[in-house]
């Protein structure tokens, strides 16, 4: 069976600057896969290209065996890939509920949307209690919960999370990682980009290291965790 997502020899440029060069990886259905790498390595650029916000200069992106890299972003979302972008990017002047409704924009099953909204509120009770408050008024951790909840609302096959633990306390970070585990157990496939390489690799089925725009190392999360080079470069060990 072909993987759920396959990225082959992907290159992406901003004008003359090539930010991603020859990146390849794949995500099997039901897995949590993380991309790790230093600042500026090209992780965000890779996710933005998968979700259709950027066009590759070379390479292919296959989702369920079909090429998607020429599709528009809204079509890619509709085909089953949700992307929670770096820095949360909530609609700050809208309420929690409106943000979640926007997450479910492409759906028209009112009852199902209602049920999924309740599920988000169960997962993150603070969101339910303050569902009519403007998203911009929430704390960083609460906003991150909302960003994940919003991305879940489209019922994606593949959920891409770009640095969901950015700026969060260790306790909040743990909550987010527990949530990722829980989403996986409910059948969502997850592509995770994290600065927090240790925690990310510990819960990943597979990890890829991106360095200077290319994939340099890959393997099961626990193997990468044990790899001397990874430990040296990303886990602050020498």
């Amino acid at each position: 069976m072909s993987p759920l997502l396959e990225v082959r020899n992907l290159s992406v440029a901003y004008g003359a600057i090539e930010a991603v060069r020859d990146v390849s990886f794949s995500v099997e259905e039901g897995q949590v896969v993380s991309l790790i790498g230093a600042n500026g390595a090209g992780k965000t650029t890779t996710l933005r290209t998968i979700s259709g916000l950027l066009r590759p200069t070379r390479g292919d992106i296959l989702f369920r065996g079909e090429p998607i890299h020429r599709k528009a972003a809204h079509e890619i979302l509709a085909s089953g890939i949700a992307h929670s972008p770096e820095g949360r990017r909530l609609f700050g002047r809208m309420t929690v509920e409106e943000n979640l409704q926007l997450g479910a924009y492409v759906r028209d099953d009112a009852a199902g949307i209602e049920a999924d909204m309740r599920r988000v509120y169960e997962l993150f009770p603070v969101l339910g209690e303050r569902r009519h408050n403007k998203a911009g008024l929430f704390s960083g951790g609460e906003q991150q919960m909302l960003a994940i909840g919003r991305a879940m609302m489209s019922k994606p096959k593949l959920l891409m999370l770009d640095e969901p633990s950015m700026g969060l306390s260790p306790i909040m970070t743990q909550r987010i990682f527990d949530t990722i585990k829980e989403l996986q157990s409910q059948g969502t496939t997850i592509l995770l980009v994290e600065q927090n390489a240790l925690a990310a690799l510990a819960l990943s089925d597979r990890g890829y290291v991106i360095d200077l725009g290319s994939t340099t190392l890959e393997g099961p999360g626990t193997d990468l965790l044990a790899d001397q080079r990874v430990r040296a470069a990303y886990l602050g060990e020498g």
Binding site: S51, L53, H74, L77, F91, L102, S154
Partner: protein, 305 residues
């Protein structure tokens, strides 16, 4: 006192017209950050479209029956303006979606001139002002010594009703939410599955319908129209949108009323009279922008309540 009250009435009527047009400027700016300078001409063409419908389409027998002609003309004006705006968006603005900001701005100016000249060339008799049908109740409502023309009252009521409906649509409906999302963060709106082209087309269409309706009611109230009404009212409306805070629905309409009132009051009481009433509009604009550069309701609530 009577004079003042009377000027307030005229100010509100002008304000209603300006406010309805200003909604189109502010909505389009909120979504695509374009000052659509052709919008004033869309208002003008809507009025001419309704006049053409009255002249050549509506049967002679019902021309004197206002409750038949008024709805037909309003629909005609709205449809003509909307179709025109969508053609302009498709042919002139869409190809420039990713061009530097100045390009669509200059294009908008060019479209504006082209529309005005097209009407001058091809609309029979449009080289001079044309009489507009009195498709509403004639006469005034007398409030003591102050007279309120019924056609003016219609304009104000329609402005308030349409603005309220628009607010409800933008704040409560699914497409309204999509418009607000696109205004706040276009990339993330796309990540929600929102098709930006659809949102943009819808925004142009709504703005143009409002301008078309304004054009018809303006013609009925003033009893004649000319090819110059677009530029004149377009400038007022653009100023109203900036004054109210560009991107804000409420700001555009309130800005419209402020400008209407400033113009009539200044024309009556300030030195220079109606010769200089324009100047005072811009004095007020500058005074507001000095203290609130984002306008009265700007920035903190773009394309919002």
């Amino acid at each position: 006192m009577t004079t003042l009250l009377q000027q307030l009435v005229y100010g509100l009527i002008l304000g209603g017209t300006v406010g309805l047009i200003a909604l189109g400027y502010t909505m389009v700016y909120g979504i695509v950050q374009l000052i659509n300078f052709a919008h004033g001409e869309i208002f003008m063409v809507g009025a001419f479209g309704a006049l053409a419908t009255f002249t050549w389409v509506i049967p002679e027998g019902v021309k004197g029956t206002w409750y038949i002609t008024l709805p037909l003309m309003v629909i005609a004006g709205a449809v003509v303006s909307m179709v025109l705006a969508l053609i302009i968006e498709r042919l002139a603005y869409k190809p420039l979606r990713n061009a530097p900001r100045l390009a669509p701005l200059i294009t908008a100016l060019g479209v504006s001139v082209a529309l005005k000249e097209a009407v001058r060339l091809w609309y029979p008799g449009a080289t001079a002002p044309l009489p507009f049908p009195k498709a509403f109740l004639a006469g005034n409502i007398d409030i003591g010594p102050v007279v309120f023309p019924k056609t003016g009252l219609l304009l104000i009521v329609v402005t308030i009703v349409l603005t309220t409906l628009l607010q409800i649509y933008i704040n409560k409906s699914r497409m309204g939410r999509a418009m607000r999302a696109t205004a706040q963060d276009p990339d993330v709106a796309r990540l929600m599955g929102i098709n930006p082209d659809r949102t943009i087309v819808l925004t142009f269409a709504i703005g143009a319908v409002l301008a078309g309706v304004a054009g018809v009611l303006y013609g009925i109230h003033l009893t004649n129209i000319s090819i110059d009404i677009g530029f004149q009212n377009g400038i007022f409306a653009f100023t109203a949108a900036v004054l109210g805070g560009i991107g804000s629905i409420r700001g555009a309409v309130i800005g419209g009323f402020i400008i209407g009132l400033v113009k009539t009051i200044a024309g009556q009481y300030l030195p220079g009279g109606t010769q200089y009433d324009y100047v005072w509009i811009f004095v007020v604009l500058i005074a507001v922008l000095v203290f609130r550069p984002q306008g009265l309701f700007g920035e903190t609530e773009r394309v919002r309540a």
